[in-house]
């Protein structure tokens, strides 16, 4: 398919600007002007609409395909939250208004959303306060770890290390490094949870904290989590809860009650805001009393007269993490989703997310090697080890699924399982859809026995086949204009 730039025809217009009604022309001295006009395409509105509509049709998405991408929680995004995000009273609101004198009066509705949302998230997680500022999960992690650093600094603690399990998301070590800490990794034991003995050895006075995803990326809830918290707290370490997998435990367990001091939530996972093909996300961070003094500013607080306002009076704060108050329209969507679901609805979410994951796990395990054969939470991890012996790797199975009109599960993550296939169906999928997926997986297994070589040129039904990634990395071409 042509690029939009290749569709350009000189003189064609896609949009009419308002006419100038001011009867004069502003001037800029020549030395400050650009020499050549910006070479954007010259296309009609219809050209643009056809182009991007055709592009959209080259995507798999939740709206069009089953998308059991493990650890990503690709659940259905209810359409009404889009209606809500488009309400002009919010979408046209300028973020600097509350920074004017008494400007909070101008944005009471927006501040109320942020205030209410904070209370809802506190009740859901057992935390005491939340900041809405972080713009994605990884950004939330960084926020949390920076608060951890501020806490230790204030207490005069000499800390050097953050402990993470080997099944951790790649963002964990990257975050710790940016916050100035080094990483210590702990291996999983035979049950798929952190090896307690090894952890004991690794916790020292220099341990700043422990970052845990719970349930972990193997889909397993570690029952010893509260004991681990005690061990970490004994050296005045901070327990960090990576909320990537919160979808599994809503109403069953709250991180704040089992010893976590700080956590982030990926609103685009658990609370069903759209992933957007890779963002925008939103990663609110919750803390217990210990870390409240270090929350980023501003916070939304309420005066006695009921007026909401932006409170900058947190002298211990780590400072400003984002330009404003978070990805507001994403927070608004998640807020709408939570009040729609209510407490019972949220429990149903986790119930069915876990039920669906176990159903798939139980059916698939007769043909695929299950990394840890036990009840799982919202996702399960298989290994394509049996198929690999026949020359068919996890990636081949993924490509096979694309031809079956199914978005592949996550492959090659977590790293601790070889040839891993990580499946998270989410609560919004029906048994019929999952049965189709299971049938497709069985077909893949059969084909791996009969014609293993047939996998290598899959997928065949997509607009393009397997890309040459080596060429992409060696002959770098990331800009149409670099060669024109």
């Amino acid at each position: 398919m042509k690029l939009i730039f290749e569709k350009s025809v000189e003189g064609r217009q896609g949009f009419r600007n308002p006419r100038s009604d001011v009867g004069l022309e502003g001037e800029i001295p020549l030395k400050y002007r650009r020499e050549k006009d910006c070479p954007l395409p010259e296309v009609s509105e219809l050209d643009v609409v056809r182009h991007f509509t055709s592009l959209s049709q080259r995507n798999f998405s939740v709206d069009t395909h089953f998308y059991p991408l493990g650890s990503c929680t690709m659940k259905y995004n209810p359409k009404f939250t889009e209606t809500i995000a488009a309400i002009e009273g919010f979408s046209n609101l300028h973020p600097l208004l509350p920074q004017l004198n008494h400007g909070e009066k101008l944005v009471q509705g927006a501040l109320e959303v942020l205030y209410d949302m904070e209370r809802l998230l506190c009740e859901i997680t057992g935390m005491d306060r939340f900041t809405m500022q972080p713009l994605a999960g990884a950004h939330g992690e960084l926020t949390g770890v920076m608060m951890m650093a501020a806490y230790h600094k204030a207490k005069g603690n000499k800390k050097k290390y953050i402990i993470v399990p080997d099944s951790a998301h790649g963002t964990n070590p990257a975050t710790a490094a940016i916050a100035g800490y080094e990483i210590v990794s702990v291996n999983s034991d035979e049950n798929g949870v952190m090896d307690l003995e090894e952890l004991k050895e690794k916790i020292t006075d220099e341990t700043a904290g422990l970052m845990v995803t719970s349930p972990n990326t193997l889909g397993i809830f570690n029952s010893d989590v509260d004991k681990i918290a005690e061990m970490v707290h004994a050296v005045d370490g901070i327990m960090y809860y990576d909320g990537a997998n919160l979808n599994a435990i809503l109403g069953r367990c709250r991180p704040g009650d089992i010893g976590f001091d700080v956590m982030h939530i990926n609103l685009h996972k658990t609370f069903s805001t759209p992933h957007g093909g890779g963002g925008p996300g939103s990663g609110p961070v919750g803390v217990n009393e210990k870390l409240i003094p270090y929350l980023p500013i501003s916070m939304v607080d309420r005066r006695d007269d009921g007026m909401y306002y932006l409170n900058y009076d947190y002298p211990g704060s780590i400072g400003y993490l984002a330009s404003f108050y978070g990805n507001f329209s994403i927070i608004l969507r998640a807020y709408a989703y939570i009040i729609m679901a209510g407490g019972e609805g949220l429990k149903e979410v986790s119930n069915h997310a876990v039920l669906n994951a176990n159903y798939i796990k139980e059916r698939l395990k007769e043909r695929f090697h299950l990394a840890y054969d036990r009840i799982c939470m919202h996702e399960s991890v298989f290994s394509a080890s049996k198929q690999t012996e026949r020359g068919v790797h996890a990636i081949d199975i993924a490509k096979f699924l694309i031809d079956q009109n199914i978005h592949p599960p996550t492959v090659y993550f977590p790293l601790s399982v070889k040839e891993s296939i990580m499946i998270e169906p989410t609560e919004t999928e029906s048994k019929q859809t999952m049965d189709q997926f299971i049938d497709a997986m069985f077909k893949a297994d059969e084909l791996s026995q009969q014609q293993p070589e047939s996998f290598h040129d899959l997928p065949k039904t997509t607009p393009v086949t397997r890309p040459d990634e080596v060429k992409a990395a060696r002959d770098i071409n990331t800009n149409y204009f670099q060669n024109t």
């Binding site: 022309e25 910006c38 600097l96 004017l100 009740e123 330009s323 048994k431």
Partner: protein, 456 residues
Amino acid sequence: MIPYISNTENDVHDMLKVIGVSSIDDLFNDIKPRHAPRSFNLPEGKSEFEVVEHVKRLASKNATDLILFIGGGYYDHYVPSAVTSLVSRGEFYTAYTPYQPECSQGTLQALYEYQSAICALTEMEAANASLYDGGTALYEAVMMAARITKRDKVIMDGGVSPIYRKIIRTYTSNLNYEFQETPVVHGQSSREEIEKLLDKDTAAVILQNPNFFGTIDDHSDIVEKAHALGILVIESVYPVALGILKTPGAMGADIVTGEGQSLGLPLNFGGPYLGFMATRKKYIRKMPGRIIGQTVDANGKRCFVNTLQAREQHIRREKATSNICTNVALCALQSVIYMSLLGKHGFKALAQLNLDKAEFARQEIEKIEGVEVKRSSPTFNEFTVCLPIDASVVVEAMIDKGFAAGFPLGRYYKGMENYMIVAVTEKRTKKEISDYARALREVLAGAYCNTPVQDV
């Protein structure tokens, strides 16, 4: 049950049987009674209709009928309907990060086009597929410059958005960087002060064009002096202005970042926005964030993939160029649709239109007695106004007249309490501008009669 769960009672029964447990509760046995929530008091669920009505009621508590003359880096531009319509396609917004290229060519090609458009706009060689927002993008640029130069001193021009400067200081508080800020002279970067600080320990100079006061500059001379000492220049830009302004590429900048909100994104009370970043090709491997590259498939057909992934957190872990994971792909898509619609001529015309309207507004405001519009350096669509009294008081009084009249500078610049910056986009009509000037005259006249204007 909420309407987004499909399982019927029969399904649940059948599935439990397959799993071999008798109830859903049995699936949660790893969560022990001692882990149970101490409380879970959430409101009862609501229907879609009730939620929409509730949120509409909240929206009505916001003052969105104000006529906006406030900018500060975030501008009230018109968003064409085709932009909104196309990004609302579920195939785009309900997709994940394009890890499986064969079934994500839509997102991948669109992001490649976005990167190309950003390069065209800035006259740089390589852009990434987006960062969170203009402020965090600038912070990432600082980190990138430090990685490239292996130096740790950074010079920040006082004309760089104070919001951005605060963000940079927050992020680097645990790392060993030394920041020095230089003042603005006649609205432009102080050559003298910057040059004094340039040395072999300096990683980067951060500049902004137009700067926070709205003034335009040509930083080519600073770039030349910086490069002579191996220092990189980071330029933060306002993309709509680049329809006519000299580009950072032409000035020789090494890393360019900016806030892409003005490229077809609603104001949305602060987000989601769009951080963009572009650089020289030789620095591409040091750039954070996702990068989409063109390649061929097994049949030799052109296609697009996530490339240079070895820089990223999921591979390099603690050695990654950044911890960034999710970025703002949908916002990038939105902006490339916007730029495509406007096109080569429309985009330039849009910039000119902003300039024209701002010039008209300047002239109207200048006529008001006691008010001075700073004109020591040229400006684009935002300019600095000096008022006879505290600007924050004037702006507050203007709210009652229906205008968000500008952003008072006293909040971020000590000693500038009587100044405000005023932004004028293509959406402001001649009538609105004239009404604004009249209202401002009235407010100031009232202020002379009974100062303070209002002690609310």
